[in-house]
Amino acid sequence: MNAFALRQPKELFESQKLALWYFAVAVLLFGVQIIFGLLMAYQYIDPEFLYGKLSFMTNRTLHVNAMIVWLLVGLMGGVYWFLPLETGREVVGIKLAKFIWWVIVAGVGVVVLVYAFVQVGPGNAYTLWFINEGREYVEAPRWADFAIVAWVAIFLFNVIATTLAARRITGLLGVLIFDLVALGALYTAGMHYTVNVTMDQYLWWWVVHLWVEATWEVLVGVVMGWSLMYLLGTPRKLIETWLFLEVALVFGTGILGLGHHYFWIGTPEYWIGLGGFFSALEPLPLVAMVVHAVYDSGAHRLHTVNRPALFWAIAQAFGNFIGAGVWGFMQTLPQINMYSHGTQLAAAHGHFSFFGAYVGTVLTLVYIAVQNARKRVVVPLDSRLWPWAYGFLIFSIIGVVASFTISGFAQTMIERAELGSTWNAYITSYTHPWYTNTHWWRFWMGMLFLGAYVALVWDLLTIGRKPAAAVEAAHD
């Protein structure tokens, strides 16, 4: 056991117990996301399936919103897990944190039920406040927006107050606070209604892009920093130097990289050059993260206290680079994006990047928590099942991504480039065999993904239960 891992006392901190709830809900919502993804994948095969009852837009809303919520919950859970270890004390304001958590769980339940059963509403402000805001990823009705802001504010208070009470600010905590302020503030940019659709999308991307390509990416840098310290005992100085470098590159390229969403929405022409230039540099920090992870694990010859967590951390580094960096770069130059914009190529990249960057991170955190949640802590944590869940989740998401890449390319060529994006062009492209062949393949890869998810859940429930030949933890 390394020094950082040894900071874990036998009895969990209250905030770590809260983190376990965060992780449980996250993993549950992951399952919800997959179910609705499969329903959509099947509607591509048979458009009459659940037509008019649970139409495509409803399944898709639930799919992407469940994703945003579970990933954010997982990342926040990671902070609640590591914060007491970093500061050496219980989190300040933990009662408030528990209170808002149950409010949020209830709120998410209500929102999901309304999405699933009410689905849509009349074209007036009432709908936007109580049913659905109708903007991809941030459909949450306005009342829920306020609940989310309150939640992030309390979370930020927990972090700042605990840091102050510990009277010691580390580089990791400094970056975390800086990042959370930005993350919370950005969400409020999405809480406006405006009739001008260009302005609407201009601000919508502040939430969507500046979350996933800036503030979430840095939040991942922080929790992965702690994870690597825990898993490998990487020295703090190394972690913090890399983290600062990553922040410099992520914010230095990602903030103006926002311009890659401003090519075609009615915004001025200078965004074409700016967005193309800065977003083309966005993969740089992702390369740095791969170097970091490979160097650290290589230096320790993969000796770790927790094998599944370390393997997810390595998958995260590569997945982030390939899914976000390579699949994003592929369509980020305006000369290419003009034709690929709004095709399933974006969905290929969306699946690869969210899976690589964020699913990988949250599963690393969950395995670390699971290791310490049991009565006796097994070191190193290992099982026979996890490599199967791990391997098949990665394999099948690559299958889903490949299918979207091909249908997206067919769409780019046929619907956009050849036929000029009319209704007729759309029908010609989605009936082309290059496109339709991917439907089945995507669906069955999705089924495989579901199977691997079940294995994952089973493993999380059982790993470390039977410590056959395992060594007992130093603090046991």
Partner: protein, 221 residues
């Protein structure tokens, strides 16, 4: 705007590097302090530029300022023309033709388009369609839906109506009855008012200058 994107990019990178170097005098480039300074400086500079450009963009995308049309554009004929210098299509606003047989005042047009936008959000079109190329990929991009040749070629004859706005309104209220392909749009039960408002919104959107997206709309056939 007085500066080109190249000038802004070069200035942003140059300032980030130079200010970091100045603040980090005495620290090696491998030290945490150097990179902490780099992180803070680059974030602040990029954020500052984003704020500045946001003010500029907000001015330029006001309805009527050139790129986004005024609300009363719905009273006019709208088309796309090839701009040989820019090498892309640009929207052109033609003579006044009225909308559903009426000329809307600026306030009336605003109210109608606003209703259309709320209906668009309330019925969640974006989780099937793309709006300005963003959204889902199950249904066609709606950026230029108003200008789609199929309204005249197929929908007007099929529904037996005389104008494009009538065709769109009627079709939107019964997409389940007049499917054009295997993927059907569900009946989202628009009221008459909502359907007219949606058509107004789509017509207004079709006149936004999108730098040529979607490329060569409706040219091939």
């Amino acid at each position: 705007m007085d500066y080109s994107w190249i000038q802004i990019s070069v200035a942003a990178v140059f300032l980030s590097v130079v200010i970091t170097l100045v603040l980090s005098r005495g620290y090696g480039w491998l030290s945490p302090t150097f990179w902490r300074n780099a992180a803070v400086v680059s974030s602040m500079i990029m954020l500052f530029i984003l704020m500045w450009l946001t003010f500029d963009t907000t001015e330029k995308i006001r309805p009527g300022a050139g790129r986004v049309p005024t609300w009363t554009v719905i009273n006019h004929q709208i088309g796309l023309k090839w701009d040989g210098e820019k090498r892309r299509q640009v929207p052109v606003v033609g003579e006044q033709t009225g909308f559903f047989g009426k000329v809307y005042s600026p306030d009336e047009a605003f109210a109608l388009i606003n209703k259309g936008k709320m209906t668009l959000q309330g019925r969640n079109c974006m989780e099937c369609h793309q709006i300005l190329g963003n959204g889902a990929y199950y249904a066609p991009d709606l950026t230029r839906a108003w200008l789609d040749p199929w309204w005249e070629e197929r929908i007007m004859p099929a529904l037996g109506v005389a104008s494009r706005e009538e065709a769109m309104k009627t079709w939107l209220q019964h997409p389940d009855k007049y499917p054009q392909g295997r993927r059907r749009m569900p009946n989202l039960h628009f009221s008459d008012e909502e359907a007219v408002a949606l058509v107004a919104f789509l017509k207004w959107m079709s006149a936004i200058d999108t730098n040529g997206f979607p490329p060569r709309f409706g040219v091939a056939q």
